[in-house]
Amino acid sequence: MSKERIGVYVCHCGSNIAGTVDVAEVSRWAGEALKDRGVVVSRDYKFMCSSLGQELIQKDIQEQGLTRVVVAACSPHLHEQTFRNACKEGGLNPYLCELVSIREQCSWIHPDKAVGTEKAKAIVSGGVEKVIWDEPLEPLRVPINPVTLVVGGGIAGIQAALEVANAGYPVIMVEREPSIGGHMAQFDKTFPTLDCAACILTPRMVEVGSHPNVKLFTYAEVTNVSGYVGNFQVTIKQKARSVDTDLCTGCGICQEKCPKKVIDPVFEAGLGYRKAVYTPFPQAVPKYPVIDRENCTYFLKGTCRACEKFCPTGAIDFTQEDEYFTVDVGQIILATGWDLFDARRIPQYGYGRLANVFTSLEFERLTNAAGPTGGKVVLRDGVTVPKSVAIIHCVGSRDKNYNPYCSAICCMQSLKFAHLVHERTGAEVYNFYIDMRTPAKGYEEFYQRVLEEGTHFIRGKVAEITDAARYPGEEGKLIVQAENTLVGKQMRVPVDMVILSAALEPRHDFKEVARLFGISCSEEGWLIERHPKLDPVATMTEGIYIAGCAQGPKDIPASVAQGAAAAARVVGKIQQKEITMEPIRASINQDKCSGCRICNNMCPFNAISFIEDRMVSEVNPALCQGCGTCVAACPAGAISGTVFSDQAILAQLDGLLLNNLKAIDLTPA
């Protein structure tokens, strides 16, 4: 029999638990049936997590001399910390408190109150048995490395990097492309204020490039991450630039002289050309170009070297190789951004087949004063100004065949396009939308403005875009076939140009990113935040934060806000100077260890080493992450894990099966 004095607290969570679990009965039952197991107090309360609920626990600890606490409420992932802190305030070691979930795993999933109540009893019983075996622990404290890694140099990453750097801490930024700037650098105007994207972005880029606290790696990728919060080791692959950045002045002569023109699928969205030696755009940060070895004539055929010949500083270096180096960082912010939905996946919209169907990114480049047409809105032939333009919303989003989610920015982006077409061509504009979504500050006003400009809004999903004329007046045009659902009529709208507001999709390599950094992503591939409302920039992995579209589709203001939020979290942690970690660790009983070394190879973190002179293995608690695989593997039972010890798990098992009530001893005599 247990000598502990256990308090059991059953939460109503308003009606969230009390609706389908008879909480009063569970608490009464625990007080009576588990009396022999050491339960001395059992209460139910409306909201255990409220300050009054927490005070209840603290009062009982002090007045009833509780030595263990079990709270039956929501998932430990939500409130474990809350109740541990409550116990700590009450004078009990926080690790002597168990939170068992009777909400996510009981009341919310079972509509039957009798069934729910019985299951809740079993869950409470399991918690009571486990808590008996819990040990008082102290959180581990490790120093935190103040260097922060920012992955992705779009606006979210830039904001995050600048916030951390301006707070006085070192930042390492890694960007895959030759320049930072991200998608925002491709735009001409930004909604709803129509300020020029470059005008607001490039100063920020320059600031990152020249900030004394920022070390910038472009044309580089993270290839490996090891360690843990406060002490990550990150391997960065610097792809060969073929340009010596110490010598290069960024004069641009090499780009002028390079004879090889290549379609630029990234920055120009396939609409324009760049050279084989290039910076994606004139304001690129850093200013140093890269040689695209897949297209460079020298790398393909062994001759040319025009850039080398003309470079006034001799900065071209064809012999450069990919370099790998490892940096130590304390925390990581992921701002890896998004990819554009491939509109070819919807064949009836004709993208890739019909010349004058454009994607949203292509149109962004068309309107950009620095783009391939110098900002002129023209058809694919490069000269004809369209007289009528159709803009299709929700291409590849809000469509169960492609992506079920709303891409969040397309409505506003399409309104911006409508305005720009009006402004630059005076053409008739038809916006085909499913629903108009303009929820942020100034967005609805912008919608009203575009309405007043005379854009036609047709509520209906486009069925087909075709060049097959059926009626007079349709010849040589693109015909947009749709149902106007407000009128209930099919309509065919002949236009010169179609713009597809394509969906924002997770980066194509989201799986690798998630695996590399040890975080999870949603079914679609967006990186998952710790809590959708209360913790939108942290992840389940301590020390790794997310910002911008990597977390989900969002516009520029939201990306900037997230970047700043992630930076605030990082700076807050750095200022604590050390990080407290869960003391979930394995340790080896040296007297029991036979030195078989089975555990040595089990550990993915190399935390277990073999001590030759004593012929036993030892766990390095700084490296141990507490997975417990070695505990399960040790044939001698010499390894024990804190918080989840064999005894605690087996006791919980007995409790869940209600064997604790029967007093059966299953251990062999």
């Binding site: 909400r103 919310w108 999933i109 069934v115 979930i584 973190f605 417990g628 919980q652 007995d654 099966l657």
Partner: protein, 155 residues
């Protein structure tokens, strides 16, 4: 409730993926079979095969072992160890006279609440079809000692 057999199922879930999948199912108010009772481990690699045997011995009719998808393990690769133990256990259970269908391995990511719920319901039905386990290891041990092996085999 009707008279149908309600199996008791113990689910071992990892802290990072499958326990969160269960949380996700709850948050989505996805209804599924109430027969499962979960034990949270830090990692499916923490699963000592003894836990499974103890669960059956203690009265469970089915045991679910659930972890992150291969390659997604929070501890890099420890779910592979759970997988190996799972196949070992399957063999062992057969030898002990327990239908291997009473043990299930499920990979569920933190986003897969629906999958977790569906699989738990499916597994509950499978175990229900197998009937109660009534496995008493003490009786089994007695039966074993009562069975006298011929001396030449024992040697």
């Amino acid at each position: 409730m009707s008279d149908q057999f309600e199996p008791v199922i113990i689910g071992f879930t990892c802290n990072w993926c499958s326990y969160r999948a269960a949380d996700m199912a709850g948050m989505g108010r996805i209804k599924y079979a109430p027969n499962i009772r979960l034990i949270r481990l830090m990692c499916s690699g923490r699963l000592d095969p003894t836990f499974v045997i103890k669960a059956f011995a203690g009265g469970a009719d089915g045991v679910l072992v659930s972890g992150c998808h291969p390659g997604d393990c929070h501890y890099i690769e420890q779910n592979y160890k759970a997988m190996r133990r799972f196949y070992l256990l399957k063999k062992l259970l057969t030898q002990m006279g327990i239908e291997p269908g009473r043990l299930k391995l499920l990979w569920a990511s933190a986003a897969e609440g629906q999958i977790f719920a569906d699989e738990v319901t499916k597994f509950t039905e499978e175990v229900r079809a197998l009937g109660p386990l009534h496995w008493n290891p003490t009786a089994a041990l007695e039966a074993e000692s009562a069975f006298h092996q011929p001396a030449e085999v024992a040697a």
